[in-house]
C-alpha cells in the first residue's frame, strides 16, 4: 500500500488547525514574553558585571533543566499560587495548559537572548563607544544609535535560536494540558501511530524553519535599512499569529473537555466518551496526553470536565492509603472521599486495569512460577522493566515489602515496548497492565498477587465539581457504566495498538460502542 495513501494523513491534517494554532500561540507568546524580559535585563546589565554574571548563571541553570521537567514543575507552582491568590485576593486562575507552558517556555528562551545581547553589546569596539561620547551622544543615544545597531546581528542570532528552541520545546507542553503539535507525537507514540509521530515532527520542524526565516528577513531588513524586508518579515509573523487565532475565535466556548492520560486505553476511552457526548448533541473536545498527577488536579480545578481514572491509583497516589480493600468496598469509600472534594464518581466501566507482574507463559511453565510469591524466590537473578512511574509508585513499594522482591536490575521503558521486550527475553519480568491486549498477543501470563499487595484498579469515570449537577453530561455517559468487561477492553487495546487506520482511537472507540452499546 502506498505510504501516503494512508487515511491517517488525512486525519492528522484535520487536527492541524487546532494543534498548530495552539502551538503558534503558546510559542509566540512565550517568545514575546521572553524577549520583553530578557532584552531590558541584558541592556541593564551591560555595565554591571555582578548582575550580568548572576543573570547568565541563572539562565544557564534553567537551560540544564530538561524541557519536560521544567514544564511539569510550573504546574504545581502555579497551582499553589492560584490557591494563594484565591485566599488572599478572592480570585483564582487556571494553572493548567497555557499559563504554565508560556512561563516555562519564556524562561527557556532567555539564555540565548541574554547571552547574545550581552555578547553583542560587549563586542562593540571601545573606540567606537568613545567616539559616540565624543560627538556628544547621551548614554541613551549611544545605546540606540550605535551600540544596539552594531550588536544587532549577534542579538538576532540569539533571538532566532530562542525561537527555534521554544517551538521545538513547546511540543512537550502537551502533558501539562497545553494543546500543541506535541499532541501528534505523544498520541502517536502511545498508539504506535507512526504517521502521527512523523506528522507532528514535520509540522514542528516546518514551523520552526518558517519562523527562523521570517526573523532572518527582519534581521537583514534592519541591517540593510530596508523597510521592505523588515516589514515583510513583520507582516509574515503577524499573519501567522492572526491565522492561528482565527480558529480559536470560531470554536464554541461551551464545549465539554474530556481528559486522557498518556496511554492507549485512555485515548480510546476519551474518544468513546467524546462520541457519546456528540451522539447526545453536545459539543466535546479532548485534552490528551496529560500527566497522571496533572489530570486529577485539572479535573478538581474544572479545567477538564470528565476523565477515566483507576480506583487503586487514586487510593494510593491521591489519598496515600496503603491498606488494601476488596474491589467494591474500595470504590465505595473512594466515592465518599472524592465527594468531599465535590468530585463525582459517576460509576465503574466494568473492567480493571491493574498493575501486574507479567512473564511469558512458556517461561513460567519451565520455571514452575504461577504467583508473585513463586517469582520472589528467583527474582535475585532476574531483571524487571516498568513504565516511567511504576518504580516510584506505592504499588512497587508494597510488592517489595509484602513479597521481599528484589531484582538484579530494573529498567524504565515506554509501556508499549515492554511487552515485546519480555516476550523476546530482553527482560525477564515486566510490570504490565491487566487490560493490555498485548498480554494475549505475546502469549504472556499475569502472575497471581496471592497476598494482595496491589489494590484493585477499577476504571471509573470522574466528573469535575462544576459538572456535578450536569444532567445532560450524566445522561450521555451513564450508558457506559458497567458495560466494558476485561476481555472486551483487552481486545480494544490490542486493536488500538495496531499500526493502521483501523487502529486509530476513534475507530476503536466506534468498534467498542458497537460491541457494548447494544447490551
Amino acid at each position: 500500500m502506498n505510504f501516503f495513501a494512508d487515511p491517517r494523513w488525512g486525519e492528522a491534517l484535520g487536527h492541524l488547525p487546532d494543534y498548530l494554532g495552539s502551538h503558534v500561540r503558546v510559542s509566540v507568546t512565550a517568545l514575546a514574553l521572553g524577549l520583553f524580559v530578557s532584552l531590558p535585563l541584558a541592556i541593564l546589565s551591560r555595565h554591571r558585571p555582578v548582575l550580568r554574571g548572576a543573570l547568565l548563571g541563572l539562565a544557564s541553570i534553567v537551560q540544564t533543566v530538561p524541557g519536560l521537567a521544567l514544564l511539569a514543575l510550573f504546574y504545581p507552582l502555579l497551582l499553589a499560587l492560584a490557591a494563594l491568590s484565591l485566599s488572599w485576593f478572592g480570585f483564582s486562575f487556571s494553572a493548567f495548559g497555557f499559563l504554565p507552558a508560556v512561563l516555562a517556555l519564556a524562561l527557556y528562551s532567555m539564555l540565548p537572548v541574554l547571552r547574545n545581547t550581552i555578547t553583542g553589546l560587549q563586542g562593540v569596539d571601545a573606540a567606537i563607544l568613545e567616539a559616540a561620547q565624543g560627538v556628544g551622544m547621551t548614554p541613551r543615544q549611544s545605546l540606540f544609535t550605535v551600540e544596539l545597531p552594531l550588536a544587532l546581528p549577534v542579538m538576532m542570532a540569539g533571538i532566532r535560536t530562542a525561537a527555534v528552541w521554544v517551538i521545538g520545546t513547546a511540543t512537550l507542553s502537551t502533558p501539562i494540558g497545553q494543546t500543541s503539535l506535541g499532541n501528534y507525537i505523544f498520541a502517536g507514540l502511545q498508539t504506535q501511530n507512526w504517521v502521527f509521530v512523523l506528522f507532528g515532527c514535520l509540522a514542528a520542524a516546518v514551523l520552526a524553519l518558517l519562523v527562523d526565516q521570517l526573523l532572518a528577513l527582519i534581521e537583514s531588513g534592519l541591517r540593510n535599512r530596508s523597510r521592505l524586508r523588515a516589514g515583510l518579515g513583520g507582516v509574515g509573523i503577524a499573519a501567522l499569529v492572526v491565522a492561528t487565532l482565527a480558529p480559536a475565535v470560531v470554536r464554541p466556548q461551551t464545549s465539554y473537555i474530556i481528559g486522557a492520560k498518556t496511554f492507549t486505553e485512555q485515548y480510546v476511552l476519551s474518544a468513546l466518551m467524546t462520541q457519546r457526548l456528540k451522539a447526545a448533541g453536545l459539543s466535546a473536545t479532548t485534552r490528551e496526553g496529560l500527566g497522571s498527577n496533572v489530570i486529577f488536579e485539572a479535573l478538581a480545578a474544572g479545567d477538564i470536565d470528565v476523565y477515566v481514572d483507576y480506583s487503586g491509583t487514586l487510593w494510593a497516589n491521591q489519598f496515600h492509603r496503603t491498606d488494601i480493600r476488596p474491589r467494591q468496598e474500595l470504590v465505595a469509600e473512594l466515592k465518599t472521599m472524592l465527594a468531599k472534594q465535590n468530585i463525582t464518581l459517576l460509576g465503574e466501566l466494568g473492567f480493571e486495569n491493574a498493575y501486574a507482574l507479567v512473564i511469558p507463559k512458556k517461561r513460567a511453565e519451565q520455571l514452575g512460577i504461577r504467583t508473585v510469591a513463586d517469582l520472589a524466590a528467583r527474582a535475585a537473578n532476574m531483571s524487571i522493566a516498568g513504565d516511567y512511574e511504576f518504580f516510584s509508585r506505592p504499588e512497587w513499594a508494597a510488592l517489595r515489602r509484602v513479597y521481599g522482591l528484589s531484582f538484579r536490575t530494573q529498567r524504565q521503558m515506554q509501556p508499549d515496548f515492554m511487552y515485546a521486550a519480555v516476550a523476546s527475553g530482553e527482560v525477564d519480568v515486566i510490570a504490565g497492565y491487566t487490560s493490555d491486549g498485548l498480554i494475549a498477543k505475546y502469549d504472556l501470563m499475569v502472575l497471581d498477587d496471592v497476598r494482595r499487595a496491589i489494590p484493585p484498579y477499577d476504571a471509573i469515570m470522574l466528573l469535575a465539581p462544576k459538572s456535578a449537577d450536569d444532567e445532560q453530561l450524566r445522561k450521555a455517559l451513564t450508558p457506559l457504566v458497567g458495560k466494558i468487561d476485561i476481555a472486551t477492553m483487552r481486545e480494544a487495546n490490542l486493536r488500538a495498538a495496531g499500526n493502521d487506520a483501523a487502529s486509530s482511537p476513534d475507530a476503536v472507540a466506534q468498534w467498542l460502542w458497537e460491541k457494548v452499546g447494544k447490551k
Partner: protein
Amino acid sequence: MPSTPLIAYAHVGKTFDGGRVVAVDDVSLDVAEGEFLAVVGGSGSGKTTLLRLANRLIEADAGSITVEGEEVRSVDPILLRRRIGYVFQSGGLFPHLTVAGNIGITPKLLGTPPAEISARVDELLDLVRLDRAQYRGRLPHELSGGERQRVGVARALAAKPRIVLMDEPFGALDPLTRDALGEDFRELHKTLGLTTVMITHDMTEAILLADRIAVMRGGKLLAQGTPAELSDSDDAYVGELLRTPRRQAERLGALLPRDGAA
C-alpha cells in the same frame, strides 16, 4: 598673544586606579583663541588624558579647566562635547553609518533639520576635498585610511565648533597622505579661525603644523613655546625630542640638492 585664552588649564591633576597612576600632575596651560597648539610626548606622558579633560571625556581630580571662559565642571558635558570638535586616532567612524551619516551626526543630535544637515555635509565634503557624489553614501570600510581621517575631520567640524581637539589624528597614515592631510588641516584651521589642540608623539609634525608646542612627560608639563623658544630650553628631554628633527633636517639638506643647484 594678548587675547584671553580660549582653553585654560590651571593646576590640573588626574590620577587613575585610586591614585596609583598619576596621569596629569599639576599642569597649567593656556591656549589662545586662533592658536594651533601641539602637545608632544611619549606614550604614558598624559597627553591624551590632558586633551580629554577639556571636553570632559575624563573628569579632572584637581585644579580648574575653563573653555570659552566657562569652568567646564559647571557645563553639561553632553552640550560641551557638541560644541567642541573632536578627531579620533583612527577616525572613530561609526561603521554602520554612511559617510554622510557620520558627518551629520552632531548636527542631528542638536536637532538640525535634515535638509540643512544634508547641505552642511556637502559643504564639509568640499572642505576636506572629498567628492560629494562619490563619497556621501559610502560606508567607512569602503574608504582608505586617509579618506577615513578626512571624514573624521569633517565630522568634527560639522557643528561649526570654535575649538577642535585632535588625538594623534595623522599617526596611522603613510607619510605622503599624512603630509597632505596636515597641510590641508592647517589651511582649514586658518580659514575657519579655529582654535586647535593636537596630540602627537612626532616632534617633526608638531614643528611643521603648530604655532606653539607643549612637551609632556610623566604627567608633567616640561616646556611650552614656539619651536624657536623650545630650542632654547635647557631641559634634557626637550633637547632630545628636538634632536631628531634637527638631524633629519641636516641630512635632508645635505642629501637633497636645492632646486636648480644641480
